[in-house]
Amino acid sequence: MFTTGFKFFFGIGVALVTAAVLYGYTTGGNWVGPISWGWKEGVGEHIGYGVLMFLGLAAMGIACTLIFFRDADPADQADYVGVEDIEPTMPVTGSFWPVIGAFGAGTMAVGLVLNTAIFITGLVIVSLVAVEWMMDAWADRATGDPEANRALRNRIMAPIEIPALGGAIIAVGVLASSRILLNASKLGAVVIAGVVAVIILAIGAMAANSIEFKINRNLISGLAVVLGVAILGGGVWATVEGEREFHEHEVHGSDSHEGDESHEGEDTDGEHDGEAEE
């Protein structure tokens, strides 16, 4: 009649509620206070009383859930749905999302203390993980065939994931590149931009002709990863180092030039550029 799980949790619940009332009486509560949740008169030491009472009620809630589901006993579940045996649980496919979610949570934790931008970054990561995780969980149970489930999931998510990932890579690449170019000297920036463009062109050409010329795809992937890491690492380094020094030009003329002047200037080499040049 009463299941083991119900007995355990209900027992704990009753014991804790009783303990709460006892605690209330023995720490200065009045007669009515501890049994009326403080509605009439005091409950004694209210922190301990409150914690005990709510933990007791929570345990009773769990107990009621357990007896409703008969401790999730497989035989009872099978009887309930009218089958001989409950199907064994489906294997769950591996996923990066738990790890990414954990890092997102860690980023949020650090950002909460140090920097709002870091916190928001973490929040975005955790939100993305939540969506992806839900989709994976749904797809795992969509059909009985793991391959079909994977195909179904990809058909829904790939049109969103691929453009989003591509956009993110481009955004990060552009941002990191801009930091590098702003940090480098004027001539250096031109050289870097040229070299990176040539490498990107070379990688693209290799990828496009990889089959015809039998170029190892791992080599292409490796080059792309090295370039990506170099741009990202350089961007982070350049952000920490800061931009090169810009000298503002003296302004002669109308106010309409002020906006340009704040962005255009002359670098440390003393070379001039921009419309405000004297």
């Binding site: 497989p74 591996g94 996923s95 790890v99 934790a109």
Partner: protein, 560 residues
């Protein structure tokens, strides 16, 4: 060994195996409960090594606190002391038992995997990240908020300690949810909760106690964080004058809550002893009840002296606190009595040196018993070990720490015993028995010296805060004994790690059922239910065939 027990009767059913995975990619993405469990176990072992090193350094400073300065100032000394105490519970005992449970519990209940395996993996990584933030921030002058840490960058470090600890707790709660759900809803057909193996049951009880109480700690941390952020005293706690955040959350590592980290030790005891003795566990239902009762008495979130109003009845004189302290001895004593009874029935099977896993289980149980007994002594108000009548009101004497250390080292010793017992299921290895005996003996003796000396030191009014230098001469001698204990514990921890490293280097060995186990995990091959995935048909799956079919069993015993 003589085999008198056998796994429960089962029917065949389609095999469902966990995916075989290898490599870094799979370590990051795996949903296999054994791999996830190993992540937790490795984290716990790293935590253990870190904790024992800090323990030795703390011991060295405590022997002559007035003139020795290992950590560079009183405040750093206090923060490392707090890290040691909190770390032993949250970063060592908890992950070790969660790791064991992730590996063993699904197999024990006949499931092919843990419930919510992705959440379990996320919890493992979240735990590692949170623990990293917590430890690094303490080393970066953070910690649990001594008064001179309240300004500038150090305030950020204190806040990072709080959020790191919060992440650790959330991860533990997530892992608890996975374990509890596995025991409740993934049991094989025929296995009611009443027939659940004792370790699985103990983890269900532990998970329930953690799920009920650790959110209260999370609330404590939020209060401390808001106080830290918005200025002292928003909620009346943290960094206001002479009070540290540590004392707001100290209930976690003091009785009764500290017992919550040792509940699985009773499960290990109940799983190991019958197998070592080669007989059926005596009075299974009583054992379930005792573990459940210990779980109830380990609920300590209500005991928060920090928030008590001035003029209220002192914490140590409250009826409920005393009742919980005294009653907690009973279930542990009962479990030890049950283990003794089981061993007496199977005394013929235990010859020569005891196996390492038996030493670990019994030693852990004895340390735990010593801890709860010391806890019972500590609540006897006239002894004033709680210190409510002392000059430093509310903090108590060193006996408070001593109780915590006895209990936590009992838990750790039992977990190490579990390592040796379930080694073939964790990684397919066989751990060196001799190394195990030595390491466990070190842990046991070290735990007794470390915790016991602190309990005795409490009688000499040594304050439970390292910033107060003890005045009694006896306290100095006891500090030396305690330090010797810390060194022994460190040697034990090193022995455990060395034995595991040696076993990993030697490669898989030991077979799937080296001890003649009685529960379902021993019917797996390489940790996987091949055939059958254990549909239990026996009405009492923990019963051995000795009772059900005596003639069959006697034959099996002869054969083996």
């Amino acid at each position: 060994m003589t085999m008198t027990d056998s796994p429960p009767a089962t029917d065949t059913a389609p095999a469902v195996s966990s995916p075989a995975v290898a490599g870094l990619y799979d370590a990051l993405t795996t949903t296999d409960h054994r791999r996830i469990g190993r992540l937790w176990l490795r984290t716990g072992l790293v935590g253990l090594l870190g904790a024992v090193v800090i323990g030795v350094l703390l011991g060295i400073e405590s022997t002559d606190a007035a003139s020795t300065d290992v950590f560079g100032g009183d405040n750093a000394y206090f923060q490392m002391w707090a890290l040691y105490r909190i770390g032993l519970a949250l970063l060592v005992a908890a992950p070790l038992f969660i790791g064991l449970a992730m590996v063993v519990v699904p197999m024990q209940v006949g499931s092919t995997n843990i419930a919510f395996p992705r959440a379990a993996l996320g919890a493992a990584w979240g735990f590692m990240i949170g623990a990293g933030i917590m430890v690094v921030s303490v080393l970066a002058a953070g910690g649990w908020g001594a008064t001179d840490r309240a300004t500038g960058d150090e305030r950020d470090a204190v806040a990072l300690t709080l959020v790191g600890m919060g992440l650790v707790i959330i991860s533990i709660l997530l892992a608890s949810m996975c374990i509890a759900t596995t025991v409740i809803s993934l049991r094989v057909k025929g296995m009611t909760l009443m027939h659940a193996p004792l370790f699985a049951w103990s983890m269900l009880v532990t998970a329930a106690v953690w799920l009920l109480t650790l959110p209260v700690l999370l609330a404590n941390l939020v209060i401390a964080y808001v106080d830290l952020h918005n200025g002292p005293g928003t909620f009346g706690g943290g960094l206001n004058g002479s009070v540290d955040i540590y004392h707001q959350i100290a209930w976690l590592v003091e009785q009764p809550q500290v017992y919550a980290f040792a509940i699985p030790a009773l499960g290990v005891l109940g799983s190991v002893v019958p197998v070592a003795a080669g007989v059926r566990a005596a009075r299974h239902a009583v054992s379930l009840g005792l573990i459940g009762l210990f779980g109830l008495l380990a609920i300590g979130a209500w005991s928060q002296p920090f928030f008590q109003n001035d003029g209220a009845i002192p914490h140590d004189e409250q009826f409920l606190f005393i009742a919980f302290g005294l009653a907690a001895v009973l279930p542990v004593l009962g479990a030890m009595g049950g283990a003794g009874d089981t061993m007496a029935k199977g005394k013929d099977a235990i010859v020569g040196l005891p196996a390492a896993h038996l030493m670990g289980a019994l030693g852990g149980g004895l340390l735990l018993l010593a801890g709860v007994a010391a806890g019972a002594v500590r609540v006897i108000e006239p002894l004033e070990l709680g210190g409510s009548a002392d000059a430093v009101e509310g903090i108590g004497t060193l006996a408070v720490s001593g109780v915590g250390n006895l209990v936590l080292f009992g838990a750790i010793t039992a977990a190490v015993g579990g390592f040796w017992f379930w080694a073939s299921k964790i990684g397919g290895h066989e751990l060196s028995p001799m190394m195990g005996r030595l390491a466990i003996a070190d842990l046991l003796l070290g735990g007794v010296l470390l915790g016991g000396a602190q309990v005795v030191s409490g009688f000499f009014d040594t304050v439970n805060d390292p910033r107060f230098v003890p005045t009694a001469e006896a306290a100095d001698a006891l500090a030396w004994i305690s330090t010797a204990g810390a060194v022994l514990v460190a040697l034990g921890a090193l022995g455990v790690v060395a034995a595991i490293a040696g076993a990993v280097r030697r490669g898989p060995a030991g077979g799937d059922d080296p001890w003649g186990g009685q529960t379902l995990e021993w019917s797996t091959v390489d940790g996987v239910f091949t055939e059958p995935p254990a549909l239990v048909t026996s009405e009492a799956p923990l019963l051995d065939r000795t009772e059900l079919e005596p003639e069959v069993d006697s034959t099996e015993g002869e054969e083996s």
